[in-house]
Structures are given as C-alpha cells and as structure tokens.
C-alpha cells in the first residue's frame, strides 16, 4: 500500500520533467517524447527503488529517498542545462546510484560491516595508493584523481570516503569508552589517549598525505572534519574537536607556505577581487553569478553561468543561484538540512553504538561535503574542489551518495525492527 510519504516521490519526478520540458522549450521550442525520456527513466528507476526498499526494508525512514531524489533531480536538470551532452550520462549515473542503493538491502546485516573493519581500512588505503599510481586526469582539472576504464572515469575517493566512515564507526565503537575515560589531563584539558587514537591517526594521516600528494584539498578537508565529528560523537570531548581544528588550521597554514596551489587558494580566499582576471577568476565569476541571480533568479537557461569554470561540477550552486535565485539556493540548502536531520534522527534512534556512529558518520559526510563546497563557493573558507552531493555532475559522487542513502535506509529499518 502506498502511503502519503510515498507520494513525495512525485516531487523529484515532476521537478525533473518540468526542468527538461522548460529546457526543451527555451532551446528548441519543441517538446517531444524524447524530451521526457530522462524523466520517464528517472521515474521508473525511482519507482523500482521505492518498491524494492518497501519490500526489503519496510520499516526504513520514508523521507530519505524523496529528499535525495529531489536533489538528484535538480542535479540532473542543471547538468542538462549546463552541459547538455552530459545530461543523459548523469541520468544513467542516478539510475546506477539507485541500483547501488538497493544493493545495500542485500547485505546480511549492518553489523557485518563492523566485522570487516580492517578490511575496509586496508581497501581504502589500497585504493588511495592505486589512485596515486594509476590515476588519470581526464577532464584537465589539474589533479589525477580518476581511474579511466573505457569510456567511464571513476573517482575512487568517493568510495574511500565510505570505507573510511565504516571503519571509523567500527573502530570508535570499539574504543569509545577508552577514548572517553582515559587520557591524561593537563590543567583542565584532556589530552587524547594517544595509544588508542594512534591507529585512526595513522590511517587518516596516510589518507591525508596521499591527498596532499594528489593536490586534492577538498577530500583532505572533508576527511579531517568527518573524523573530528565522529570523534566527538564517540567521545563527547569538545577539546578533541578544538585541538583537531587548530591542527587543521596550522596544517593549512603550513601547506600554504609549502605548496603553491594551497597558497593560491588561501590568497584568493582573502581577496579574490584583486586577481579577478587570473587566480581569483573562478570565485569572482561565481560571486557575480550569485549576485546576478538575485532573489528569484534569471530563470532556467536565462542566465550566463558559462562564465564560471567547472560550473557543472564544483560550482553548480552558483549556476543555481544565478538561474533559480536565492529561492533556489535556499531550497537546496533546506533539502540538505532535511537530509542531514533525517540522518541524525536515524542515528538517535539506533540501538547499537555502531549503527549510531555509522549513521552519524554518513550524515556528517554528506553535511560536511555540502558545507565545504558551499562555503568555498561563497568565500567563507578557502575554496577546495569537491562535489555538491547529489547535485554536481559526477558519476562516482552520485553513486557513493546513493550508497549512503542505502546504508541509512538499512540502519533505520534494522533499528526499527529490532
């Protein structure tokens, strides 16, 4: 029996259909069946995924999928608008993502992930090293972060992200009490119990080092902040977070002195305007796009986001800002707020520490990834290239984020049925 919340799935379908029809009207003044192919396939995939999860995970959170699918529909519309040729590709990736999401339902149990925690960690490091060795740069982004397999390029970082969160959830659950209790105090400050933290620090350190080597700052920042969020959830020690953030800023400052590309990012963050024709160009163009959009936006396909380099990936929010206005960008932000809120509700209702930590970690990944790129685009923090979950063009990103949704669905189902 479909419930009222299932009707919410009509939202993303209608959004994508309207978006594609509008684009066809503006571009070709013709709407034919071909126009709606993308929307029909999306509707089909979404329906199949909903039916499947209703059958396999009947007690799962009913809001997660509509929210994620709405973000994905906006993403597919914007991809079609910004790089028409990539629209169908993004559509296929969304379908693959929905498929991957349902596969999570086939896992024996969520606790199974916990059992193989060191396997995941090893796999993550292995993938990182493999990227360093075999990575390619098919799009000329300046960093070799992709495996190119035939016509498809995969960004392993998106999978590494998931593996690390699973590992962290399992590890932190195991040593949670020690992390909370033990440790020396210096004055009022609790020092972290280093022996227990060491494995995580080593692992994260290796991951960060590899990212540095790849000149990929976004994921490095994402992992560091996700680690801090999960460490706080596990330990309740704000001092860890503060220390971590201080280390992060110091590390950033050091990197800024050592690496040119980091230095550039920091300088353009302080003042993008004085180098608006060179280093600050991308950021300044994004800010112009936001400003030109105003409250209601120029309208889909009516703006000029083409001036922003990498607009369909890292800077998709600026294109949304220009064409859909503040109304559009706030809607996107609200969807993320809802998604993250659902994620934490699932974590709160979890009956095992592992599930709670995993749900919190997965939600934090989505939240922090969105925050890092949004804040970077809005000149709140130095810009680091990273996708806006579900919305930016990018297959690996879409699939990984739907996997997160799948995991969250799975956790919510298991905790509700236990």
């Amino acid at each position: 029996m479909p419930s009222a919340t299932d009707l919410l799935l009509l939202c993303p379908v209608a959004l994508l259909a309207i978006g594609l029809v509008l684009l066809a009207l503006v571009r070709r003044q013709i709407v034919d069946w071909q126009t709606l192919t993308g929307a029909v396939l999306f509707a089909g995939g979404l329906l199949a995924a909903a039916v499947w999860s209703r059958w396999r995970l009947p007690r799962a959170d009913p809001l997660l999928l509509p929210i994620a699918a709405t973000l994905a529909a906006v993403g597919q519309t914007m991809t079609s608008r910004l790089v028409p040729g990539l629209g169908p590709r993004q559509g296929i990736w969304v379908l693959i993502g929905l498929g991957a999401m349902t596969l999570v339902g086939l896992l024996p149990a969520i606790g199974w992930l916990r059992r193989y925690r060191y396997t995941w960690a090893t796999l993550a490091i292995f993938l990182q090293i493999l990227t360093l060795a075999l990575g390619r740069d098919p799009n000329g982004s300046g960093a070799a972060l992709w495996f190119v397999i035939g016509p498809v390029s995969v960004q392993p970082m998106e999978i590494v992200k998931l593996l690390l969160v699973v590992f962290l959830a399992a590890y932190l659950e195991e040593y949670r009490e020690l992390l909370t209790m033990a440790g020396r105090r210096v004055g009022r400050v609790h020092l972290p119990p280093l022996p227990y933290l060491a494995p995580i620090l080593v692992m994260i350190g290796v991951a960060l080092l590899l990212f540095w080597l790849q000149k990929d700052l976004g994921p490095a920042l994402l992992f560091s902040t996700v680690l801090l969020a999960m460490l706080y959830v596990a330990s309740g020690r704000a001092s860890y977070v503060v220390m971590g953030l201080v280390l992060l800023v110091l590390g950033g400052a050091l990197a800024s002195r050592v690496f040119d590309h980091v230095h550039t990012r920091v300088v353009t963050w302080f003042d993008p305007w004085s180098t608006r024709d060179s280093l600050g160009y991308q950021l300044v163009q994004a800010l112009y796009a936001f400003a030109s959009g105003g409250v209601f936006g120029a309208g889909l396909d009516m703006g000029s986001p083409r001036y922003i380099p990498a607009v369909h990936t890292d800077f998709v929010i600026a294109a949304i800002g220009e064409e859909l206005g503040l109304v559009g960008t706030l809607a996107i932000v609200s969807l993320f707020v809802l998604l993250v809120q659902r994620g934490f509700v699932i974590a709160l209702s979890a009956r095992s520490a592992f599930s709670a930590l995993l749900a919190a970690g997965l939600s934090s990944v989505v939240a922090l990834q969105a925050l890092i790129i949004l804040a970077g685009t809005l000149e709140l923090i130095p810009l680091t290239g990273i996708t806006l979950p579900f919305v930016s063009y990018g297959g690996s990103s879409v699939v990984a984020n739907f996997l997160i949704v799948g995991l969250l669905l799975r956790i919510s189902h298991e905790e509700a049925s236990a």
Binding site: L326, T329, V333, F344, A353, L378, L380
Partner: protein, 500 residues
C-alpha cells in the same frame, strides 16, 4: 552509554545544521545585499552582454524630433545619431570607448534599468524583468540647434541658447565636432587632432570675454548705486593707469555720453575706471571721476596711494553670476575665473579685468547665463538639458523649470541693464542683432587673444520685454564682435522666436 552518545549526536547535529544556517545567510548576502552592485559591476561579463543586446531609448528634442536612436544589427544594437553637430550635446554611446555626456549620465534610464514608476522598479528587481528603455527628452530645439550650427559657419567656437525663464538650454553647439556614428573607428584619430574636435567648447573652453564682461562690471556699479544715470560725462582722452592706458576710442563719435551710452558704445575708459572706482563707494556718484577732468587726483594714483583699489566688489558680482564656482548642469561646466588665484590685484589688472581682458576667462555657458540673468530679472537660472524621461504614456520630469541658483543683482539693476543692452542694439555696436518688429538686447565683445587676432563675442536676449531666448556666441579668431558673432546670434534668436 547510548544516552551519552545521543547527547553528543544532538550537539553534533545542531552544530552542522547551524553551519547550514551560516550558508543561508551568506547566500542572502551575495544574492540580495550585494546583488545591486555586483549585478551592475562593469567587470561582470553579464553587464557587457546585456548592453550589447539591449535596446536603448531614443533621445528626442523638445518637439519630439529624434536626435539619437538605436537600430538592431546582427552584432547587437547600434546607436545612430541624427547629426554630427549634436555630439557635444548628447555625447555618444560606444561599445569600445564607453559613454560620454548625456549618454553616460542617463545610461541607466536610457537602458530602462530604472523604470519610471517605483512599483515597476520593484517588480523589475524582484523578477528580473527585462528593462523597458525610456526615451530621454531634451530641452534642445533642433531648429534652433540647426540655426546655431549654420550661424557659426566654418568658424570654430560655440553657441549657447537658453530660455531665461526656465533655464532650458535650447541649443548647445561647439565647433569643430566629429561624427559620433563613427566614434568607434575615428575616436583615436580625433584625440590627436590639433583642432580638438572632442573638446566641448560650449561648457569646457575658457575664453577671454572682452567687452561682454562689461555687463558684470555694470551690474556691480548699478547695484551699488555708484553712477548717476542721467548725468553725462566727457570721454575723449586716454588715461594712464600705471603703465597701462585706457582710451575712449570705441565711443569717440559721442564725446559726451551717459553711462548707458558708454555701455552701448563699449567705452573701455569708462568701464575700466568703473572697475577701479568699485573699491571706493564713498565717491558715488562717480560720474565726475569718469569725466576727462576728474574732481581731483584719482584715489589709486601716487597722491592717493594710501588706499589701494580692491577687486573684491567685482569678484563678488562675478561670483553671483556663477564665475569662480561650479555651475549645476547636466554636463560638467568648467569654472570661469576673474583672475588667477596667485595674482595680486594691481590698478592695471583691475582696469583690464573690468572691461573683460586681463586674466578673465569664461565659458560660453557662463556668458549665456549672464545674458539670461539680465533677461530673468537678476536671478541666475539653473540651466538644464535633460527635460524628462518618457515611456509610452508614462513620463518623469528630470528638472523643474524656473529654478535659479543665484541672484546677481536687484530687479531694478536688471531692468537698467536690459535698457543698456537694448540701447546696444538700437544705438550701439550690437546693431546687427536687431530683428525687425522685436526689441532685442545685446552686448558685443572683441576679445584680444594675444596673437594679433580677436575672438568675436555676443551676448543678448529677445524680446527684451518678454525674453524667450538668451544667447552667447563666440567665434574664434574672427575679429570684431559686431561683425561676426552679432549677426550669427541674430540668426539664432530669430530661429528661437520663429521669425523669418
């Protein structure tokens, strides 16, 4: 144990969601607060894109005649100007060089970015509606403009015609000019042209005014009751002021004359001495001191050296007319000056200043305002070019007619000056300004420029009893005011009064 975890979870969630709140605020900052300035920033590529494709409102004269229009081409819109001679009035719109003059000053209005009604303006901002270009209606009358261009002929110079009651500028011509339709291709060449076709002489050039400046000296003398208008005096000899000698050559055919006649026949000695005597109000009436035989040694000569002559009164009256200060106008007007700030007054300099030589430098606009002030009862009208914006049936007035920015003298003084200027046309050097059946007021000027040639000047207005047009004409290096600028001005006034 899970309870601790839940408390931590809640706090983590709150912090993360608060971060999204910060993002929302930042979005509001860039998309609402900074939208006006960044949206219009010339470096924003959208601004240039828009301008290329945007229609631009027309510029019309006061009778609705089209002076500038935009036509669509494959590359975007192209500005078309009715005539090259309008360039100094309108300025020009160029994709390469940007906008100048009125095209620059009313750019947003012509593009229609700011709609005429506040409600529409709000809707425009909210919904990003494409702007509706407004037409800019000028105070210019194309027929008077054409007459002014013709009247200048091949001479370099300027004509400014003003409606003295409203301040509406009816014609503003500066020669040489260049074709704004070819600005993109020719501007670079024009910049190095020695004739300076880009230079707007009507408002920017500073010329020696010659005898037209006697109007200012006369204003000071009349307004301070320095002269008895009925008592004639004798003017036949030259008088030495320091090493400088002022003569009665201009009025030599009337040895015995009244102050009015001295003005009409432009006596340098009378007005030179007036300038010096302005500093000695106790000597009023000064008629005896203007005579061949003064009642005693001049107060500024050796014998009376205890009192130095002061130019303060003259400067004060000049300031009242708008000299030495900025004149409010749609185009930037150079500030006319009585003397260089660094120079000290000497009797020689003061006497030359009083009849418009020395270091006096004026814009044609300033001289037109002096004529308009006499016509307007002593009030200096605020000149304007941009009258209103029109969009369909909606319109917005840009300047309120009939404003004045200064008072040069009393109504009585203005009336007396008007009589002086009428005398100048009826029985004086400005005779060629006469229009049959109409009482015309005028003053000529022949400004020596130091290279042996003279600029030809005329200022005046008509009809004298109900002035509808005041003009200033300058023709560079042409010779006497009577023979060149005066008939030219007559053509302009005739066109303005629509008399054939």
């Amino acid at each position: 144990m899970l309870d601790d975890l839940r408390a931590n979870l809640r706090r983590t969630a709150v912090v993360l969601l608060a971060c999204f709140g910060v993002i929302a605020v930042a979005l509001g900052y860039w998309q609402v607060w900074r939208a006006p300035d960044l949206g219009q920033d010339p470096a924003n590529p959208r601004v240039a894109d828009e301008r290329l494709s945007q229609p631009r409102g027309r510029i019309l004269d006061r009778n609705g005649q089209v002076l500038a229009d935009s036509e669509s081409t494959a590359q975007g819109t192209r500005r078309q100007y009715a005539e090259a001679s309008l360039v100094h009035t309108l300025g020009f719109h160029s994709e390469r060089f940007g906008d100048t003059n009125l095209e620059a000053a009313y750019d947003a209005e012509l593009r229609g970015e700011r709609s005429l009604s506040p409600l529409d303006r709000l809707a425009q901002q909210l919904f990003h509606r494409s702007p509706a270009p407004n037409d800019l209606v000028l105070s210019i009358d194309k027929r008077i403009h054409d007459a002014a261009v013709e009247a200048l002929g091949k001479s370099d110079g300027a004509v400014v015609a003003i409606d003295p009651r409203s301040g509406a500028v009816l014609a503003l011509v500066s020669r040489p000019f260049f074709d704004p339709n070819a600005a993109d291709e020719q501007l670079a060449k024009m910049q190095s042209d020695p004739a300076q076709p880009l230079f707007n002489r009507a408002v920017q050039a500073l010329y020696v005014p010659g005898s037209t400046f006697k109007t200012v000296t006369a204003t000071a003398a009349l307004d301070t009751n320095l002269v008895d208008l009925n008592k004639p005096f004798l003017c036949t000899t030259a008088i030495k002021v320091g090493n400088y000698s002022v003569d009665c050559k201009n009025s030599q055919h009337i040895p015995r004359l009244t102050y009015k006649q001295a003005y009409a026949w432009s006596s340098n000695r009378v007005f030179g001495l007036t300038g010096l005597l302005l500093g000695f109000p106790k000597l009023a009436p000064i008629n005896g001191w203007l005579d061949d035989k003064p009642p005693g040694p001049y107060p500024w000569t050796e014998a009376g050296a205890s009192v130095r002559p002061s130019g303060d009164v003259l400067i004060d009256y000049a300031r009242r007319y708008g000299l030495e200060r900025s004149i409010p106008f749609d185009l930037p007007v150079a500030s006319s000056q009585v003397k260089r700030p660094s120079t000290e007054w000497t009797p020689e300099l003061l006497v030359q200043t009083a009849f418009g030589q020395g270091e006096v430098q004026v814009t044609p606009m300033q001289m037109a305002l002096i004529a308009a002030t006499v016509a307007n009862g002593g009030r200096v009208p605020t000149p304007y070019l941009a009258a209103e914006l029109r969009n369909g049936s909606a319109s917005r007035q840009l300047h309120e007619p009939g404003q004045f920015f200064s008072i040069a003298g009393s109504g009585d003084t203005a009336r007396t000056l008007r009589d002086f200027m009428v005398e100048g046309v009826d029985n004086g050097y400005a005779a060629r300004a006469a229009i049959p059946g109409i009482k015309v007021a005028g003053k000529t000027g022949t400004a020596e420029v130091g290279d042996g040639t003279s600029h030809s000047w005329f200022i005046g207005f008509a009809p004298a009893d109900d002035p509808r047009v005041a003009v200033a004409v300058i023709m560079e290096h042409q010779g006497s005011g009577s023979d060149f600028a005066t008939p030219a001005a007559q053509r302009v006034m005739r066109a303005a009064l629509a008399v054939q």
